[in-house]
Symmetry: C2
Subunit: 478 residues, 2 copies
């Protein structure tokens, strides 16, 4: 006789419900017939009675069986005549699947923002609408024809955009490359996704910063990767940690965000950069350099990427249009050896058949237009201004209760809360008062931190948002 | 002592190369030191000497070891001074990863088209540039502002496009739905991808048509699904086959393309539609209905989808802008219970952070514009005309050598070759003569078929393409 599999990831009650459903559908228990009692079934299957009760509840919710007090559980005669009819158990399908859902805090934040769009949003890691170059892009779109071709795009991405990026990368990032080494992606997010799916296998060990944006992404776990931590101090990660992780766990890849790191704002120290490149070349270890924030450097001198000093090619470089211009275009890029670019482009065809041509055209036009430099200039000044408004508000509202290092670029402030608090409770109290932020634990092992994105709310919102936040914090420490 | 694992999917020589690399990096064999001989290592590891030779060759290509005739194999002292430096073995990374590469024939076709854009293309399943509504879309773009918002989009897709789709689906597809049940995707391709990744688990059994577009997609295998076949005859699939597959393999989902099926052009018979819906509801089995071609019905009366007669909600419906207007916008849609839509939208955030706003705006504007109906009318007439040009050319050039059912809609002709031929040889001969098509075996178990897409080449290309194809075919049957 069939028994549930205790090694399986599927809960016992579901396995039992599945088995019963199968036996019913095969006619072993015809419509109207009596099922064995819960007690008897539990004995036969070697499980607790409560497990069978849950399996019965599941089948009842699907309309497959009916229970009446005193007369046991029967196979339904069904509502719609002789033929049994049931809707697929969509709930179970939606719960299943190998790809993991988002982390609960982020789903909670999205839900709160969906229900109450007036919430002051320190959580979404993006620019305010008025920091995006809307007028400039409108002008460019009126001047240019964007519709000459509407067929499937080149799998590596639109050729003119790749050509523009070759100059852009040379001029702004000190990187020499060719258009055949560039893959256009739907933002850095898709670059990271393609790397985890196509260059790594389940069980592979990788190292990521702690804290790190990567911890907010179940994509690493969905790909079955083992994650190891590289603690970030005020100078970034310590390259020696990579060597020890390699020795112990044979890590296959390292993911870092060296310039104005999300969430800490840290810039990797220049000595450590050299050490890092040495470790990488010593071990033949690929480093993924995620570099979305550099051009926001408030003083106008962006730190150069590791990729600009990578003679032997250890670095996969990822850039994005999102944090310097507009996240809604979904344009990012990766620089990699051609064999890697080809592999990722080929796989991406399976996933979404490539990118839309329009936003690629628009992004390319903008990057090479005379609007780009003045836009960057304005962006930097406004971010700096908002950062200062945030810092002032925090110092005014929460003197002695918060600590932080002042970031010199990027969209975020990483803020330590001096009193010990419960992340989830603070978030709920804040939402109740009309403000959201991201609890630090989303980004790694440290709790007791908060990430404030100051790029999105306007200055008034920053001020009133921090005052609401302060109320929320005080309410739970008292 | 370590031994290679013969059960592993990784070749023995690579395991050995990996192990040696690790031992070298740990200092077991310092730079300049002598490695054991090939013969000795082969004995120790219990493998053939040729396997060790391959492992050494691999390490040599990475610059990790050096061999000199007569003096054995040594760990390199490295080219760049004392510290060993090596480039990551990108080739091995690109070969790895859990996501499978495209099927070889399709990669060959893409490569051929890349090298020689003048090839006559019966392979790419899309519309010719002049069948896309380029002028209409240009006009709409000039009339409308597309840049009011450039932030991250709603995870389910742009709200106004979803609203437009609610009317579109009612009016053109007989489907009643609401905007919260719609997910906008990067074409049908992304809908299929999200379903396989998020609603199914590795090991799950699913049923697909044979032949079917799905067989051309390694995404099903990449998701670890077991595929079972539903043979397609001139009336489509036989619903009873689903029942038997369910009994035998407990299939979890069925994928079909009932209207002008890719590649056969078949329309599922109306009696079988009812049976299919009955089987689905009897078994509580979800049916994925992929419906990109219906509106191309040459007689102007598109078959209605299964979804229009699905009272209990067994159907996940997928539509696309690609085959009726423009594939390059990458706009598709899925209709599903809200819990499913939410789950897929959440996962998609991880993969690419959602779609670009522009193409969604453009597609929405076009679908509700007065341009849409005249465009469809013109599209149908031109497709019908091209179909007839193709059929005439085939009958003239290859009388008695080809057989087909004349399709009443869609972009493709599914053509049986009467002589027995070798798929790959025919493709190479055709490429040599300047024409590409898709070998039938890409779509399932039948070889001896060819899929000709007649929507993309113009009429002159169709005529000369078939004459080249005929030469290629004759060259290999003689
Ligand atoms: C470090 C980092 N990488 C990648 C991303 C993804 O951004 P996008 O896909 O919009 O480029 C973000 C967004 O917050 C980020 O902070
Ligand atoms: C049956 C079918 N489904 C899905 C697709 C994917 O098309 P798209 O992603 O452009 O909508 C195709 C393309 O050939 C197809 O033929």
């Amino acid at each position: 006789m069939w028994k549930p599999d205790r090694q399986s990831k599927q809960p016992l009650f579901q396995q039992i419900a599945d088995d019963l459903e199968r036996r019913i559908s095969y006619g072993e228990f015809p419509p109207g017939s009596l099922l064995p009692s819960e007690r008897k079934l539990a004995e036969q299957l070697g499980v607790n009675r409560s497990t069978v009760i849950m399996a019965f509840a599941e089948l009842r919710s699907l309309g497959i069986i009916e229970s009446q007090i005193g007369s046991g559980t029967r196979v339904s005669k069904y509502k719609w005549g002789v033929t049994p009819k049931h809707t697929p158990n969509w709930h179970r399908y939606a719960e299943g699947g190998s790809f993991l859902p988002n982390v609960p805090f982020l789903r909670r934040i999205r839900e709160a923002l969906g229900q109450r769009p007036s919430l002051i949003d320190f959580a979404s890691g993006e620019l305010a609408a008025n920091l995006s170059p809307i007028d400039e892009i409108t002008t460019l779109m009126n001047e240019n024809q964007y519709t000459a071709y509407l067929g499937y795009d080149n799998p590596q991405g639109y050729v003119p955009l790749r050509q523009t990026l070759v100059s852009y990368l040379r001029q702004y990032r000190g990187i020499q490359t060719t258009e055949s080494s560039i893959l256009i992606t739907s933002g850095s997010q898709q670059s990271l996704y393609l790397i985890t799916q196509c260059l790594l296998s389940p069980g592979d060990a990788v190292a990521i910063e702690d804290p790190s944006y990567c911890y907010s992404l179940p994509m690493f776990q969905s790909a079955g990767l083992q994650l190891f931590r590289l603690p970030v101090d005020c100078k970034g990660i310590r390259p020696d940690d990579i060597r020890s992780l390699y020795k112990k766990h044979r890590i296959k890849m390292v993911f870092i965000n060296p310039n104005f790191q999300n969430p800490t704002g840290t810039v990797l120290d220049s000595e450590r950069r050299i050490q890092l490149l040495n470790v990488a070349s010593e071990l033949g270890l690929p480093i993924v350099e995620d570099d979305p924030f550099s051009l926001t450097a408030y003083d106008g001198t962006p730190p150069l990427p590791l990729k600009s000093m990578d003679p032997i090619g250890s670095i996969l470089y990822i850039g994005s249009f999102s944090k310097i211009a507009a996240s809604g275009l979904r344009i990012g890029w990766m620089i990699a050896p051609h064999s890697v670019v080809e592999r990722l482009a080929d796989a991406r065809q399976q996933m979404d058949f490539g990118l839309s041509v329009f936003p690629q055209q628009v992004a390319g036009q903008f990057l090479k237009s005379p609007f780009f430099d003045p836009h960057l200039e304005r962006l930097r000044m406004q971010l700096l201004f908002k950062r200062d408004v945030l810092i002032e508000a925090l110092q005014r509202e929460l003197p002695g209760l918060v600590e932080f290092t002042v970031p010199q670029g990027g969209l975020h402030l990483w803020c330590k809360l001096v009193p010990e608090i419960h992340d989830g409770k603070l978030l709920e109290e804040a939402i109740r008062r009309g403000v959201v932020f991201v609890p630090g634990s989303v980004y790694g092992s440290d709790s007791g931190f908060v990430r404030f994105t100051f790029a999105r709310p306007d200055t008034e919102e920053i001020v009133s948002g921090i005052s609401k936040f302060a109320e929320a914090l005080r309410s739970i420490i008292n």
